[in-house]
């Protein structure tokens, strides 16, 4: 179970807004996180990952406290190790497709499987600049899954994929998520996009 209760001031144009969320995520569930632009969806994912600190809050994952501002506990991202898919992909320009996955894991069988799943097995020696937007996005997803995370945080992970590729990838990802027994949070602007994938939702006003 993931118990989350956080409060974070967001800097917005002309004033301040507070991101205040209390939610429980069932293990193995896939939650769609949605809401208007600037509501704090990305910030929420980064707080869970340990990349941004809230003013107040507590995050407990499987009985392990990741964050407790009252007790000054704040595990770094290296100890939380969520699979994180960044909205801007955050691919490393100096690394090839294969190098991205090898940087994340030494499990060669897992790497092979991921490359096949993301249909990047023929592009292993390509650097991000030589990949299309959709291929880059798939690589970002594969890199996040390479560490076999128990929690996957995805920020608009399917925005650059064509409808056919999206349907196929989502079907494959469902199986991987189940195999990893991972809890998934997916930020999406498009409420229809995750139909049939998400089994819960969190609206951020």
């Amino acid at each position: 179970m993931i118990d989350l209760s956080i409060e974070k001031k967001l800097k917005v144009y002309q004033g301040k807004q507070v991101l205040k969320i209390s939610h429980q995520f069932v293990p193995g569930s896939i939650t769609k996180v949605y809401g208007p632009s600037g509501a704090g969806k990305t910030t929420l994912l980064k707080i869970i990952a340990g990349l941004v600190s809230p003013e107040k809050g507590k995050i407990v994952v499987d009985n392990q406290t990741w964050l407790d501002t009252g007790s000054n506990i704040n595990l770094p991202p290296q100890k939380r190790m969520p699979g994180f898919v960044f909205q801007d992909y955050a691919l490393f320009p100096n690394m090839t497709v294969l190098a991205h996955l090898q940087y994340a894991t030494t499990d060669t069988e897992w790497i092979k499987r991921l490359l096949f799943l993301g249909k990047l097995d023929t592009l292993t020696d390509h650097k991000p600049i030589y990949l299309s937007g959709g291929q880059q996005q798939r690589l970002a997803i594969l890199r996040a899954l390479a560490i076999k995370p128990k929690l996957v945080l995805m920020d608009e992970p399917f925005s650059a994929l064509d409808p056919d590729m999206k349907t196929e990838l989502i079907a494959d990802l469902k199986l991987v998520f189940k195999e990893l027994a991972a809890t998934i949070l997916i930020v999406s602007h498009n409420p229809q996009e995750l139909e049939g994938l998400a089994d819960g939702e969190l609206y951020i006003p």
């Binding site: 340990g50 290296q78 955050a90 490393f92 100096n94 890199r143 560490i147």
Partner: protein, 223 residues
Amino acid sequence: MDLSPIWLTLKLAAITTSLLFIVGLPIAWWLSRGRSFLKTIVEAVITMPLVLPPSVLGFYLLLAFSPQHGLGKWLQDTFDTQFVFSFKGLVLASFIYSMPFMTGPIKSALQQLPVSLAQASYTLGKTPWQTFKSVLVPNIKPSLLTAIVLTLAHTLGEFGVVLMIGGNIPGVTRVASIAVYDSVERMDYAAANTYSLILFCITFVMVISVFVFNKYQAKSPLE
């Protein structure tokens, strides 16, 4: 024709640039990560040689390291070492004087990298050092080269600060820029021209190399 000033200059430039690369890279990284009052002060001190007249910097270094008093006396008494009018002094002065040419381009390049690159590395379980070595540094190669060449070129051309702390001792502190001045003083225009031409050619080749290399590297979307 005495070519020792040229060799001395190249030796000084190579040592200074190597030292500055080792020290400047982590300093630039530290400066690029967030802001604080301490960082502002450190950055201001590093940047001072850009605006301060070289003779002023040289004068204060001369005072600070004079073996008659203060730090210079302590170094002389404790380690039996003297910076004034020695090659070590030239290295020290060049190190301080050229520091902003090494840290400036590297710091700017690191700041221009998307924050998410380092964040992505952290979520993969990598330490800040692993991230720096495997993700950040390889993606700022053109700026590293620019910093190295700028530092080298700047060290080759130092005059005021080097003259103040090192003087004009043949084979010890008489670098090429001082040899040019000295030759002109002696009305030996031929020697001045030879030294100047060699310096001109070396720096021209260095600057051209940077342009060629960075043009090739500019295929990366981050540069």
